[in-house]
Protein backbone atom coordinates (compact mmCIF):
# COMPACT_ATOMS: atom_id res chain seq x y z
CA UNK A 1 0.00 0.00 0.00
CA UNK A 2 2.74 2.44 0.84
CA UNK A 3 4.25 1.76 -2.55
CA UNK A 4 0.99 2.80 -4.06
CA UNK A 5 0.92 5.98 -2.07
CA UNK A 6 4.40 7.00 -2.94
CA UNK A 7 3.85 6.18 -6.60
CA UNK A 8 0.72 8.26 -6.48
CA UNK A 9 2.49 11.24 -4.97
CA UNK A 10 5.27 11.05 -7.52
CA UNK A 11 2.74 10.65 -10.29
CA UNK A 12 0.77 13.59 -9.01
CA UNK A 13 3.78 15.84 -8.81
CA UNK A 14 4.97 14.89 -12.28
CA UNK A 15 1.43 15.36 -13.44
CA UNK A 16 1.27 18.76 -11.82
CA UNK A 17 4.39 19.79 -13.69
CA UNK A 18 2.95 18.45 -16.90
CA UNK A 19 -0.21 20.41 -16.29
CA UNK A 20 1.80 23.57 -15.75
CA UNK A 21 3.78 22.97 -18.89
CA UNK A 22 0.60 22.22 -20.79
CA UNK A 23 -1.11 25.30 -19.45
CA UNK A 24 1.00 27.64 -21.53
CA UNK A 25 0.52 25.46 -24.53
CA UNK A 26 -3.24 25.54 -24.13
CA UNK A 27 -3.31 29.30 -23.64
CA UNK A 28 -1.45 29.83 -26.85
CA UNK A 29 -3.71 27.47 -28.71
CA UNK A 30 -6.81 28.97 -27.20
CA UNK A 31 -6.05 32.47 -28.30
CA UNK A 32 -4.01 32.02 -31.43
CA UNK A 33 -4.69 28.50 -32.71
CA UNK A 34 -0.98 27.90 -32.77
CA UNK A 35 0.52 24.60 -31.70
CA UNK A 36 3.67 25.53 -29.88
CA UNK A 37 6.34 22.93 -30.41
CA UNK A 38 8.77 25.07 -28.46
CA UNK A 39 6.92 24.66 -25.18
CA UNK A 40 9.61 22.34 -23.82
CA UNK A 41 12.24 24.91 -24.74
CA UNK A 42 10.25 27.55 -22.90
CA UNK A 43 10.62 25.37 -19.82
CA UNK A 44 14.31 25.04 -20.55
CA UNK A 45 14.86 28.75 -20.97
CA UNK A 46 12.81 29.41 -17.86
CA UNK A 47 14.89 27.06 -15.77
CA UNK A 48 18.15 28.51 -17.05
CA UNK A 49 17.01 32.08 -16.56
CA UNK A 50 16.17 31.42 -12.98
CA UNK A 51 19.50 29.66 -12.63
CA UNK A 52 21.21 32.72 -14.06
CA UNK A 53 19.53 34.96 -11.55
CA UNK A 54 19.93 32.66 -8.61
CA UNK A 55 23.32 31.08 -9.10
CA UNK A 56 25.22 33.16 -11.62
CA UNK A 57 24.05 36.58 -10.48
CA UNK A 58 23.64 35.40 -6.90
CA UNK A 59 20.38 37.21 -6.47
CA UNK A 60 18.20 36.34 -3.52
CA UNK A 61 15.59 33.75 -4.37
CA UNK A 62 12.78 36.20 -4.77
CA UNK A 63 14.73 38.53 -7.05
CA UNK A 64 15.94 35.59 -9.06
CA UNK A 65 12.31 34.66 -9.53
CA UNK A 66 11.45 38.19 -10.58
CA UNK A 67 14.39 38.20 -12.96
CA UNK A 68 13.19 34.94 -14.45
CA UNK A 69 9.68 36.27 -14.87
CA UNK A 70 10.95 39.43 -16.55
CA UNK A 71 12.98 37.44 -19.03
CA UNK A 72 10.01 35.17 -19.65
CA UNK A 73 7.83 38.17 -20.38
CA UNK A 74 10.37 39.55 -22.80
CA UNK A 75 10.71 36.17 -24.43
CA UNK A 76 6.96 35.86 -24.83
CA UNK A 77 6.60 39.30 -26.31
CA UNK A 78 9.55 38.99 -28.66
CA UNK A 79 8.53 35.59 -29.94
CA UNK A 80 4.98 36.70 -30.54
CA UNK A 81 5.86 40.01 -32.09
CA UNK A 82 8.62 38.95 -34.43
CA UNK A 83 7.94 35.36 -35.21
CA UNK A 84 4.30 34.51 -34.81
CA UNK A 85 2.54 37.72 -35.65
CA UNK A 86 3.80 37.93 -39.21
CA UNK A 87 2.40 34.48 -39.77
CA UNK A 88 -1.11 35.25 -38.69
CA UNK A 89 -3.48 33.74 -41.18
CA UNK A 90 -0.97 31.33 -42.67
CA UNK A 91 -1.47 27.60 -42.84
CA UNK A 92 -1.46 25.87 -39.47
CA UNK A 93 1.41 23.61 -40.44
CA UNK A 94 3.60 26.50 -41.48
CA UNK A 95 3.07 27.98 -38.07
CA UNK A 96 3.85 24.66 -36.40
CA UNK A 97 7.05 24.53 -38.38
CA UNK A 98 8.07 27.96 -37.23
CA UNK A 99 7.70 26.91 -33.63
CA UNK A 100 9.83 23.88 -34.42
CA UNK A 101 12.46 26.22 -35.80
CA UNK A 102 12.09 28.33 -32.70
CA UNK A 103 12.64 25.34 -30.47
CA UNK A 104 15.86 24.61 -32.29
CA UNK A 105 17.04 28.18 -31.86
CA UNK A 106 16.15 28.39 -28.19
CA UNK A 107 17.89 25.13 -27.43
CA UNK A 108 20.94 26.30 -29.32
CA UNK A 109 21.00 29.58 -27.43
CA UNK A 110 20.96 27.78 -24.12
CA UNK A 111 23.78 25.58 -25.38
CA UNK A 112 25.82 28.53 -26.51
CA UNK A 113 25.57 30.31 -23.21
CA UNK A 114 25.51 27.41 -20.80
CA UNK A 115 27.01 24.44 -22.59
CA UNK A 116 25.58 20.97 -22.39
CA UNK A 117 26.71 19.87 -19.00
CA UNK A 118 24.57 19.89 -15.93
CA UNK A 119 24.53 23.04 -13.83
CA UNK A 120 24.65 22.91 -10.10
CA UNK A 121 21.90 24.74 -8.35
CA UNK A 122 21.22 24.54 -4.64
CA UNK A 123 17.80 23.13 -3.82
CA UNK A 124 15.11 25.77 -3.72
CA UNK A 125 12.40 23.73 -2.15
CA UNK A 126 12.98 22.11 1.21
CA UNK A 127 14.38 18.63 0.87
CA UNK A 128 13.71 15.78 3.22
CA UNK A 129 10.80 13.44 3.45
CA UNK A 130 7.80 12.88 5.61
CA UNK A 131 5.85 9.73 6.30
CA UNK A 132 2.36 9.55 4.90
CA UNK A 133 0.39 6.42 5.65
CA UNK A 134 3.55 4.40 5.76
CA UNK A 135 4.97 5.86 2.57
CA UNK A 136 8.00 8.06 2.38
CA UNK A 137 7.04 11.25 0.63
CA UNK A 138 9.56 13.94 -0.25
CA UNK A 139 8.48 17.36 0.89
CA UNK A 140 9.50 19.09 -2.33
CA UNK A 141 7.16 16.91 -4.33
CA UNK A 142 4.28 17.93 -2.12
CA UNK A 143 5.18 21.57 -2.48
CA UNK A 144 5.34 21.24 -6.25
CA UNK A 145 1.83 19.87 -6.23
CA UNK A 146 0.74 22.77 -4.07
CA UNK A 147 2.33 25.41 -6.27
CA UNK A 148 0.87 23.89 -9.40
CA UNK A 149 -2.57 23.81 -7.86
CA UNK A 150 -2.33 27.46 -6.93
CA UNK A 151 -1.04 28.56 -10.31
CA UNK A 152 -3.56 26.53 -12.24
CA UNK A 153 -6.34 27.74 -10.04
CA UNK A 154 -5.26 31.35 -10.45
CA UNK A 155 -5.16 30.98 -14.21
CA UNK A 156 -8.54 29.37 -14.52
CA UNK A 157 -10.04 31.95 -12.22
CA UNK A 158 -8.52 34.67 -14.35
CA UNK A 159 -10.11 33.26 -17.45
CA UNK A 160 -13.44 32.45 -15.97
CA UNK A 161 -13.99 35.62 -14.05
CA UNK A 162 -12.54 38.15 -16.43
CA UNK A 163 -13.64 39.37 -19.80
CA UNK A 164 -10.26 38.36 -21.13
CA UNK A 165 -11.26 34.74 -21.27
CA UNK A 166 -14.10 35.54 -23.62
CA UNK A 167 -11.85 37.90 -25.57
CA UNK A 168 -9.26 35.21 -26.06
CA UNK A 169 -11.76 32.76 -27.39
CA UNK A 170 -13.25 35.45 -29.56
CA UNK A 171 -9.86 36.23 -31.07
CA UNK A 172 -9.28 32.56 -31.71
CA UNK A 173 -12.58 32.30 -33.53
CA UNK A 174 -12.38 35.32 -35.76
CA UNK A 175 -9.66 37.90 -35.56
CA UNK A 176 -11.31 40.45 -37.80
CA UNK A 177 -14.55 40.31 -35.91
CA UNK A 178 -12.64 40.63 -32.67
CA UNK A 179 -11.05 43.79 -33.98
CA UNK A 180 -14.45 45.23 -34.76
CA UNK A 181 -15.34 44.59 -31.14
CA UNK A 182 -12.46 46.75 -30.04
CA UNK A 183 -10.49 43.75 -28.87
CA UNK A 184 -6.84 44.34 -29.59
CA UNK A 185 -5.77 41.15 -31.23
CA UNK A 186 -2.12 42.00 -30.84
CA UNK A 187 -2.49 42.53 -27.16
CA UNK A 188 -4.36 39.28 -26.67
CA UNK A 189 -1.72 37.43 -28.64
CA UNK A 190 1.07 38.94 -26.59
CA UNK A 191 -0.83 38.17 -23.44
CA UNK A 192 -1.16 34.53 -24.41
CA UNK A 193 2.51 34.15 -25.20
CA UNK A 194 3.61 35.98 -22.12
CA UNK A 195 1.40 33.91 -19.86
CA UNK A 196 2.65 30.79 -21.59
CA UNK A 197 6.26 31.79 -21.06
CA UNK A 198 5.64 32.60 -17.42
CA UNK A 199 3.83 29.38 -16.66
CA UNK A 200 6.57 27.51 -18.48
CA UNK A 201 9.11 29.30 -16.32
CA UNK A 202 7.38 28.11 -13.19
CA UNK A 203 7.24 24.56 -14.51
CA UNK A 204 10.84 24.71 -15.65
CA UNK A 205 12.18 25.96 -12.35
CA UNK A 206 10.28 23.38 -10.36
CA UNK A 207 11.29 20.63 -12.71
CA UNK A 208 14.92 21.68 -12.48
CA UNK A 209 14.70 21.65 -8.73
CA UNK A 210 13.32 18.14 -8.71
CA UNK A 211 15.79 16.87 -11.27
CA UNK A 212 18.59 19.10 -12.51
CA UNK A 213 19.33 22.22 -14.51
CA UNK A 214 20.16 20.57 -17.80
CA UNK A 215 19.22 20.26 -21.44
CA UNK A 216 16.96 17.31 -20.77
CA UNK A 217 14.30 19.64 -19.42
CA UNK A 218 13.30 20.42 -23.00
CA UNK A 219 12.45 16.81 -23.65
CA UNK A 220 9.84 16.99 -20.93
CA UNK A 221 7.96 19.26 -23.29
CA UNK A 222 7.10 16.41 -25.61
CA UNK A 223 4.89 14.83 -22.99
CA UNK A 224 2.74 17.92 -23.22
CA UNK A 225 1.10 16.56 -26.33
CA UNK A 226 -0.63 13.58 -24.79
CA UNK A 227 -1.63 15.80 -21.92
CA UNK A 228 -3.32 18.45 -23.99
CA UNK A 229 -4.95 16.01 -26.33
CA UNK A 230 -6.35 14.10 -23.44
CA UNK A 231 -7.75 17.21 -21.83
CA UNK A 232 -8.64 18.98 -25.04
CA UNK A 233 -6.37 21.41 -26.82
CA UNK A 234 -8.21 24.46 -25.60
CA UNK A 235 -9.26 23.55 -22.11
CA UNK A 236 -7.50 24.84 -19.00
CA UNK A 237 -9.24 22.34 -16.71
CA UNK A 238 -8.33 19.77 -19.33
CA UNK A 239 -4.64 20.37 -18.71
CA UNK A 240 -5.13 19.51 -15.07
CA UNK A 241 -6.98 16.30 -15.78
CA UNK A 242 -4.68 15.40 -18.65
CA UNK A 243 -1.54 16.19 -16.66
CA UNK A 244 -2.57 14.18 -13.65
CA UNK A 245 -3.80 11.23 -15.68
CA UNK A 246 -0.62 11.06 -17.71
CA UNK A 247 1.63 11.67 -14.71
CA UNK A 248 0.07 8.95 -12.62
CA UNK A 249 -0.35 6.52 -15.46
CA UNK A 250 3.34 6.69 -16.28
CA UNK A 251 4.19 6.25 -12.65
CA UNK A 252 1.96 3.24 -12.12
CA UNK A 253 3.10 1.59 -15.31
CA UNK A 254 6.74 2.05 -14.45
CA UNK A 255 6.13 0.95 -10.89
CA UNK A 256 3.90 -2.02 -11.50
CA UNK A 257 4.42 -3.06 -15.08
CA UNK A 258 7.03 -2.58 -17.74
CA UNK A 259 9.03 0.62 -17.19
CA UNK A 260 9.77 0.79 -20.89
CA UNK A 261 6.07 0.80 -21.58
CA UNK A 262 5.76 3.88 -19.41
CA UNK A 263 7.04 5.99 -22.26
CA UNK A 264 4.46 4.93 -24.78
CA UNK A 265 1.51 4.33 -22.53
CA UNK A 266 0.47 8.00 -22.72
CA UNK A 267 0.30 7.72 -26.48
CA UNK A 268 -1.69 4.54 -26.39
CA UNK A 269 -4.15 6.11 -24.00
CA UNK A 270 -4.23 9.19 -26.18
CA UNK A 271 -5.27 7.26 -29.25
CA UNK A 272 -7.85 5.36 -27.27
CA UNK A 273 -9.35 8.55 -25.90
CA UNK A 274 -9.39 10.24 -29.26
CA UNK A 275 -11.28 7.39 -30.82
CA UNK A 276 -14.01 7.90 -28.27
CA UNK A 277 -13.79 11.66 -27.93
CA UNK A 278 -12.19 13.26 -30.97
CA UNK A 279 -11.72 16.58 -29.18
CA UNK A 280 -10.31 15.21 -25.95
CA UNK A 281 -12.19 15.08 -22.70
CA UNK A 282 -12.92 18.78 -22.37
CA UNK A 283 -11.96 20.13 -25.76
CA UNK A 284 -14.26 22.35 -27.72
CA UNK A 285 -15.85 20.64 -30.68
CA UNK A 286 -14.96 22.39 -33.87
CA UNK A 287 -18.07 23.66 -35.54
CA UNK A 288 -18.50 22.67 -39.13
CA UNK A 289 -21.73 23.63 -40.72
CA UNK A 290 -22.90 24.08 -44.22
Amino acid sequence: MNTFISLTIYGLSDGALLALAALGFVLIYKATRVINFAQGEFLLVGAYMFYTGFVVMRLPLIFAAVFGVLVAIVLGVVVERFILRPLIGEHAISVIMVTIGLSSVLKALVQIFYGTSVREQPPILPTGSIQVAGATVPVNRLIVIGIAVIVLFAFSAFFQRSRHGVAMRAVADDQQAALTMGISVKRIFSLAWVLAAVSALIAGVLLADLSAVEQGIAAFGLMVFPVVILGGLDSVPGTVVGGLVIGMLKQYVSGYADPGLAEVIPYIVLVAILVVRPYGIFGETRIERV
Binding site: V166, A167, G182, I287
Partner: protein, 284 residues
Protein backbone atom coordinates in the same frame (compact mmCIF):
# COMPACT_ATOMS: atom_id res chain seq x y z
CA UNK B 1 -21.91 56.92 -21.62
CA UNK B 2 -24.40 55.99 -19.03
CA UNK B 3 -27.66 54.67 -20.22
CA UNK B 4 -30.76 56.60 -19.58
CA UNK B 5 -33.49 54.45 -18.20
CA UNK B 6 -36.21 55.55 -20.57
CA UNK B 7 -36.66 53.65 -23.81
CA UNK B 8 -33.10 52.38 -23.79
CA UNK B 9 -30.12 54.00 -25.31
CA UNK B 10 -28.31 51.42 -27.22
CA UNK B 11 -26.47 54.12 -29.02
CA UNK B 12 -24.08 56.38 -27.26
CA UNK B 13 -26.60 59.15 -27.14
CA UNK B 14 -25.32 61.89 -29.32
CA UNK B 15 -27.07 65.07 -28.61
CA UNK B 16 -29.03 65.96 -31.70
CA UNK B 17 -26.85 68.89 -32.62
CA UNK B 18 -26.96 70.98 -35.74
CA UNK B 19 -27.91 68.53 -38.44
CA UNK B 20 -25.26 69.77 -40.76
CA UNK B 21 -22.20 68.46 -38.92
CA UNK B 22 -20.64 65.47 -40.54
CA UNK B 23 -19.77 62.76 -38.11
CA UNK B 24 -17.69 60.97 -40.70
CA UNK B 25 -15.94 62.39 -43.70
CA UNK B 26 -13.92 60.52 -46.23
CA UNK B 27 -11.73 62.51 -48.55
CA UNK B 28 -10.27 61.11 -51.71
CA UNK B 29 -9.39 57.78 -50.20
CA UNK B 30 -7.38 55.35 -52.21
CA UNK B 31 -7.04 51.72 -51.11
CA UNK B 32 -4.63 49.16 -52.44
CA UNK B 33 -4.60 45.45 -51.64
CA UNK B 34 -1.44 43.36 -51.82
CA UNK B 35 0.52 46.42 -52.95
CA UNK B 36 -0.97 46.20 -56.44
CA UNK B 37 -4.74 45.85 -56.51
CA UNK B 38 -6.19 49.34 -56.54
CA UNK B 39 -9.75 49.08 -55.28
CA UNK B 40 -10.80 52.50 -54.05
CA UNK B 41 -9.84 55.26 -56.45
CA UNK B 42 -10.30 58.53 -54.70
CA UNK B 43 -13.51 57.94 -52.85
CA UNK B 44 -15.18 60.73 -50.95
CA UNK B 45 -18.31 60.69 -48.91
CA UNK B 46 -19.76 62.17 -45.77
CA UNK B 47 -22.11 60.86 -43.13
CA UNK B 48 -23.97 63.63 -41.36
CA UNK B 49 -24.53 63.19 -37.70
CA UNK B 50 -27.81 61.61 -36.80
CA UNK B 51 -28.62 60.50 -40.33
CA UNK B 52 -28.88 57.22 -42.13
CA UNK B 53 -26.73 56.98 -45.21
CA UNK B 54 -27.00 54.16 -47.70
CA UNK B 55 -24.07 53.06 -49.82
CA UNK B 56 -25.13 51.13 -52.89
CA UNK B 57 -23.16 49.58 -55.69
CA UNK B 58 -22.75 46.47 -57.72
CA UNK B 59 -20.77 43.47 -56.53
CA UNK B 60 -17.11 44.19 -56.27
CA UNK B 61 -17.53 47.94 -56.44
CA UNK B 62 -15.59 48.33 -53.23
CA UNK B 63 -18.33 48.94 -50.71
CA UNK B 64 -17.05 46.52 -48.13
CA UNK B 65 -13.57 47.81 -48.72
CA UNK B 66 -14.80 51.27 -47.88
CA UNK B 67 -16.15 50.10 -44.56
CA UNK B 68 -12.98 48.19 -43.84
CA UNK B 69 -10.98 51.30 -44.52
CA UNK B 70 -13.15 53.27 -42.14
CA UNK B 71 -12.92 50.67 -39.40
CA UNK B 72 -9.23 49.95 -39.83
CA UNK B 73 -9.50 46.32 -40.88
CA UNK B 74 -7.48 46.66 -44.05
CA UNK B 75 -4.14 45.64 -42.55
CA UNK B 76 -5.61 42.24 -41.72
CA UNK B 77 -6.15 41.70 -45.44
CA UNK B 78 -2.89 43.09 -46.75
CA UNK B 79 -4.74 46.24 -47.70
CA UNK B 80 -3.70 49.81 -47.12
CA UNK B 81 -5.05 53.33 -47.40
CA UNK B 82 -2.46 54.94 -49.63
CA UNK B 83 -4.01 58.33 -50.09
CA UNK B 84 -6.68 60.57 -48.68
CA UNK B 85 -8.01 60.86 -45.18
CA UNK B 86 -10.79 59.62 -42.96
CA UNK B 87 -12.13 61.97 -40.31
CA UNK B 88 -14.36 60.81 -37.53
CA UNK B 89 -15.85 63.38 -35.22
CA UNK B 90 -13.22 65.79 -36.47
CA UNK B 91 -10.39 63.45 -35.59
CA UNK B 92 -8.16 62.01 -38.28
CA UNK B 93 -8.42 58.26 -37.91
CA UNK B 94 -6.95 57.26 -41.26
CA UNK B 95 -4.20 55.12 -39.82
CA UNK B 96 -5.47 54.46 -36.35
CA UNK B 97 -5.49 50.95 -34.94
CA UNK B 98 -8.79 49.14 -35.52
CA UNK B 99 -9.46 48.50 -31.85
CA UNK B 100 -8.86 52.17 -31.10
CA UNK B 101 -11.48 53.26 -33.58
CA UNK B 102 -14.04 51.11 -31.86
CA UNK B 103 -13.25 52.95 -28.69
CA UNK B 104 -13.98 56.22 -30.45
CA UNK B 105 -17.45 54.97 -31.25
CA UNK B 106 -17.05 53.49 -34.72
CA UNK B 107 -18.70 50.14 -34.92
CA UNK B 108 -18.80 47.82 -37.89
CA UNK B 109 -21.07 44.89 -38.43
CA UNK B 110 -19.21 42.90 -41.02
CA UNK B 111 -20.49 41.32 -44.16
CA UNK B 112 -21.06 37.62 -43.68
CA UNK B 113 -21.87 37.84 -39.99
CA UNK B 114 -18.51 36.94 -38.51
CA UNK B 115 -20.02 35.89 -35.24
CA UNK B 116 -17.81 34.00 -32.81
CA UNK B 117 -18.90 30.48 -33.60
CA UNK B 118 -17.69 28.75 -30.49
CA UNK B 119 -19.07 31.30 -28.09
CA UNK B 120 -22.63 31.26 -26.91
CA UNK B 121 -25.06 33.92 -28.02
CA UNK B 122 -24.68 35.73 -24.74
CA UNK B 123 -20.90 35.53 -24.80
CA UNK B 124 -20.97 37.00 -28.28
CA UNK B 125 -22.95 39.92 -26.95
CA UNK B 126 -20.60 40.31 -24.00
CA UNK B 127 -17.63 40.41 -26.32
CA UNK B 128 -19.31 43.37 -28.00
CA UNK B 129 -18.92 45.34 -24.80
CA UNK B 130 -15.38 44.16 -24.20
CA UNK B 131 -13.55 47.38 -24.80
CA UNK B 132 -15.78 49.31 -22.47
CA UNK B 133 -13.94 47.77 -19.56
CA UNK B 134 -15.28 46.35 -16.36
CA UNK B 135 -18.78 47.62 -16.42
CA UNK B 136 -22.07 46.17 -15.51
CA UNK B 137 -23.52 45.12 -18.80
CA UNK B 138 -26.68 43.46 -17.58
CA UNK B 139 -28.87 46.39 -18.50
CA UNK B 140 -27.28 46.66 -21.92
CA UNK B 141 -27.89 42.99 -22.51
CA UNK B 142 -31.49 43.41 -21.50
CA UNK B 143 -31.88 46.22 -23.99
CA UNK B 144 -30.52 44.20 -26.85
CA UNK B 145 -32.70 41.27 -25.94
CA UNK B 146 -35.67 43.58 -25.89
CA UNK B 147 -34.84 44.80 -29.35
CA UNK B 148 -34.16 41.35 -30.75
CA UNK B 149 -36.34 39.03 -28.69
CA UNK B 150 -35.38 36.00 -30.72
CA UNK B 151 -31.87 36.25 -29.32
CA UNK B 152 -33.05 36.11 -25.78
CA UNK B 153 -34.52 32.65 -26.34
CA UNK B 154 -31.21 31.49 -27.66
CA UNK B 155 -28.85 33.11 -25.22
CA UNK B 156 -27.19 29.91 -24.07
CA UNK B 157 -26.88 28.35 -27.52
CA UNK B 158 -23.56 28.05 -29.26
CA UNK B 159 -23.62 30.65 -31.97
CA UNK B 160 -22.04 28.49 -34.64
CA UNK B 161 -25.12 26.29 -34.74
CA UNK B 162 -27.61 29.06 -35.32
CA UNK B 163 -29.22 29.37 -38.70
CA UNK B 164 -27.85 31.95 -41.10
CA UNK B 165 -30.48 34.52 -40.32
CA UNK B 166 -30.22 34.05 -36.58
CA UNK B 167 -26.51 34.68 -36.84
CA UNK B 168 -27.18 37.88 -38.71
CA UNK B 169 -29.38 39.12 -35.90
CA UNK B 170 -26.75 38.23 -33.40
CA UNK B 171 -24.12 40.16 -35.32
CA UNK B 172 -26.25 43.27 -35.26
CA UNK B 173 -27.03 42.86 -31.59
CA UNK B 174 -23.36 42.46 -30.83
CA UNK B 175 -22.48 45.64 -32.68
CA UNK B 176 -25.05 47.50 -30.62
CA UNK B 177 -23.43 46.32 -27.40
CA UNK B 178 -20.53 48.59 -28.23
CA UNK B 179 -22.81 51.61 -27.90
CA UNK B 180 -21.38 53.20 -31.01
CA UNK B 181 -21.74 56.71 -32.27
CA UNK B 182 -21.65 55.50 -35.83
CA UNK B 183 -22.97 52.09 -36.72
CA UNK B 184 -21.83 50.66 -40.01
CA UNK B 185 -23.77 47.73 -41.39
CA UNK B 186 -22.47 45.71 -44.30
CA UNK B 187 -25.40 44.03 -46.03
CA UNK B 188 -27.45 43.46 -42.92
CA UNK B 189 -30.30 41.89 -44.85
CA UNK B 190 -28.14 39.18 -46.40
CA UNK B 191 -29.93 35.88 -46.01
CA UNK B 192 -32.76 37.29 -43.95
CA UNK B 193 -36.36 36.40 -44.51
CA UNK B 194 -38.50 39.19 -45.98
CA UNK B 195 -40.32 39.88 -42.76
CA UNK B 196 -37.10 40.15 -40.90
CA UNK B 197 -35.57 42.40 -43.53
CA UNK B 198 -38.46 44.69 -43.00
CA UNK B 199 -37.99 44.52 -39.26
CA UNK B 200 -34.28 45.14 -39.44
CA UNK B 201 -34.76 48.27 -41.46
CA UNK B 202 -37.55 49.42 -39.25
CA UNK B 203 -35.23 48.80 -36.37
CA UNK B 204 -32.46 50.81 -37.97
CA UNK B 205 -34.87 53.62 -38.50
CA UNK B 206 -35.98 53.40 -34.92
CA UNK B 207 -32.59 53.51 -33.28
CA UNK B 208 -31.77 56.35 -35.56
CA UNK B 209 -34.84 58.36 -34.78
CA UNK B 210 -35.18 57.57 -31.12
CA UNK B 211 -31.56 57.67 -30.12
CA UNK B 212 -29.96 59.70 -32.80
CA UNK B 213 -27.62 56.88 -33.78
CA UNK B 214 -25.87 57.61 -37.03
CA UNK B 215 -25.92 54.76 -39.51
CA UNK B 216 -23.98 53.95 -42.64
CA UNK B 217 -25.47 50.97 -44.40
CA UNK B 218 -24.45 48.93 -47.41
CA UNK B 219 -27.23 47.05 -49.11
CA UNK B 220 -28.00 44.99 -52.15
CA UNK B 221 -31.62 45.39 -51.27
CA UNK B 222 -31.59 48.96 -52.53
CA UNK B 223 -35.28 49.42 -52.24
CA UNK B 224 -35.34 48.78 -48.52
CA UNK B 225 -32.23 50.77 -47.89
CA UNK B 226 -33.48 53.83 -49.72
CA UNK B 227 -36.79 53.63 -47.89
CA UNK B 228 -35.13 54.30 -44.56
CA UNK B 229 -32.10 56.29 -45.61
CA UNK B 230 -31.83 60.05 -45.63
CA UNK B 231 -29.07 60.09 -48.11
CA UNK B 232 -27.53 57.70 -50.58
CA UNK B 233 -24.35 57.12 -52.50
CA UNK B 234 -23.90 54.86 -55.48
CA UNK B 235 -20.48 53.52 -56.17
CA UNK B 236 -18.93 51.81 -59.16
CA UNK B 237 -15.37 50.62 -59.45
CA UNK B 238 -14.08 52.34 -56.40
CA UNK B 239 -15.63 55.73 -56.98
CA UNK B 240 -18.83 57.47 -56.07
CA UNK B 241 -20.77 57.88 -59.27
CA UNK B 242 -24.02 59.20 -57.96
CA UNK B 243 -25.13 60.88 -54.82
CA UNK B 244 -28.30 62.43 -53.54
CA UNK B 245 -31.11 62.29 -51.09
CA UNK B 246 -32.86 58.98 -50.87
CA UNK B 247 -35.79 60.52 -52.64
CA UNK B 248 -33.72 61.70 -55.57
CA UNK B 249 -32.06 58.36 -55.99
CA UNK B 250 -35.29 56.44 -55.91
CA UNK B 251 -36.46 58.48 -58.83
CA UNK B 252 -33.32 58.24 -60.88
CA UNK B 253 -33.98 56.03 -63.93
CA UNK B 254 -30.61 54.28 -63.82
CA UNK B 255 -31.03 53.44 -60.21
CA UNK B 256 -34.49 52.18 -61.00
CA UNK B 257 -33.23 49.91 -63.71
CA UNK B 258 -30.05 48.56 -62.20
CA UNK B 259 -30.62 48.64 -58.47
CA UNK B 260 -34.31 48.41 -58.00
CA UNK B 261 -34.84 45.87 -60.74
CA UNK B 262 -37.71 47.80 -62.25
CA UNK B 263 -38.45 47.69 -65.96
CA UNK B 264 -38.88 50.75 -68.15
CA UNK B 265 -42.53 50.75 -67.40
CA UNK B 266 -41.71 51.12 -63.76
CA UNK B 267 -43.22 47.74 -62.89
CA UNK B 268 -41.22 44.75 -61.75
CA UNK B 269 -40.12 42.59 -64.63
CA UNK B 270 -40.29 38.85 -64.58
CA UNK B 271 -37.16 36.78 -64.17
CA UNK B 272 -38.47 34.56 -66.89
CA UNK B 273 -38.24 37.45 -69.30
CA UNK B 274 -34.52 37.91 -68.97
CA UNK B 275 -33.13 37.16 -72.37
CA UNK B 276 -30.18 34.97 -73.05
CA UNK B 277 -28.55 37.43 -75.37
CA UNK B 278 -28.46 39.90 -72.55
CA UNK B 279 -26.31 37.82 -70.34
CA UNK B 280 -24.24 36.60 -73.26
CA UNK B 281 -23.34 40.17 -73.94
CA UNK B 282 -22.53 40.81 -70.41
CA UNK B 283 -20.38 37.83 -69.62
CA UNK B 284 -18.44 37.14 -72.74
Amino acid sequence: MTSTPVSGTVAGAVAPGPATTDLLTINNVEVIYDDVILVLRGLSLAVPEGKIVALLGSNGAGKSTTLKAISGLLPTEHGEVTDGSILFGGKNVTHLDAAERVRLGLSLCMEGRHIFEHLTVEENLISGAYFRGRIDIQSDLAEVYALLPKLSDMRARVAGYLSGGEQQMLAIGRALMAKPKLLMLDEPSLGLAPLLVKEIFAFIKRVNEEMGLTVLVIEQNARRALEVADHGYIMEQGRIVLEGTAQELQENPDVKEFYLGLGESGGRKSFRDVKHYKRRKRWL
